[in-house]
Symmetry: C2
Subunit: 216 residues, 2 copies
């Protein structure tokens, strides 16, 4: 039986109109629209509301990367229509639990971002126990620039069988997306390979085909 | 000779008008206006521009808590008038260096936030070598709720004599601010003790008197 794998497009531009246009172009082929951290900080919650009003049939992920004041920071975003927000795995567990509470109060998901976590297995287990819905493997942009990839971490977390969705982000390209799916990702995050393509819609369509083929 | 100690008011409300009003009430007594992380994420860069246009004689700190894409995320905020932005000490050193570059290109300061850093001394030393201007000791709101205070960390970092400004945040009250100054803080961050007071202007004035007395 084919596994359902979701595609998330990460929108890391700053201009709100460009961001909305990219969402429109790629929406037919993807499941989750991510408002990236720099984009969110630049535009604020109004872009979240606008995105959800235009693309109500898609999940909207707001990449808050919350580090403190978990419930306080995340709650208004869930109330504004976010389906998923992220909290950093390097944050205190109390912060993570606050985001989980805000998410579940709004029938939404909390995702932990394991970026720069030293002991990722221990963090993922603690987050799963705390009620986090999605474990996010994430090789950041600055780490990618230094040559890092998310594959080792993905294998590690998939091997834990925590019963949570696994999201994988970090320079995923057409050449590597099949391996990411086969290694156990439930959500494949694609950023530059879509928004940096000459034809983002075509790039998203190709990703859809590759992901569905790998998941079949 | 008296040491110059700056007072930073941390504005952690979400409503932009309330935030601007609090800045106006406290401005006569403080040196740095901090747009807190939840407030920034909620309102975006437009609030930074508005704050700087109204309070051009104050430093404006944007508490970005940058975790990735350091230069890309921070640069527009410096260009919008921020005098200081923060980057997380738990981030990759490449991220921290990116924020430093964006800051120094704009004649501004980069501040590292040591929140949840395991080895704070090593991190502070590495950040000082990387050109960070301010070392931020920070007991987060969620950690404060669990009873933590910033004093041990402040003593640790002050003892390193790194030649950088030291900022201290984490539940500082009138009863404790004198000890924070005497322990070596160059910047005292006050949040709830001002914005949660019945009369925020009076609370800020009292803090000014206490800080100046302790620094004399």
């Amino acid at each position: 039986m084919a596994k359902e794998v979701l595609i998330q497009v990460a929108l890391d531009t700053l201009d709100p109109q460009v961001t909305l246009d990219l969402a429109a172009k790629t929406a037919p082929y993807i499941d989750i629209i991510e408002i990236g951290t720099p984009c969110l900080k630049y535009n604020g919650i109004s872009l979240v509301k606008e995105m959800k009003s235009r693309f109500g049939d898609k999940k909207v992920l707001v990449d808050l990367k919350t580090m403190d004041a978990g419930e306080y920071e995340a709650r208004p975003f869930f109330e504004a229509g976010a389906d998923i927000t992220t909290v950093l795995g390097v944050a205190e567990l109390a912060t993570i639990k606050g985001v989980v509470k805000a998410a579940h109060d709004n029938n939404a998901w909390a995702q932990v971002d394991l970026i720069s976590v030293a002991d990722k297995a221990a963090c993922a287990k603690a987050c799963a126990e705390a009620g986090v819905d999605v474990i996010g493997i994430h090789t950041g942009l600055d780490a990618q620039a230094a040559g890092a990839t998310p594959f080792a971490d993905l294998n590690l977390i998939a091997g834990l069988n925590l019963g949570k969705k696994i999201s994988c982000a970090g320079g995923i390209k057409p050449e590597t997306v099949g391996d990411v799916v086969k290694a156990g990702a439930d959500i494949v995050v694609v950023g530059g390979a879509i928004y940096g393509a000459d034809d983002p819609a075509a790039a998203a369509k190709q990703m859809r085909e590759l992901v569905d083929a790998a998941a079949a």
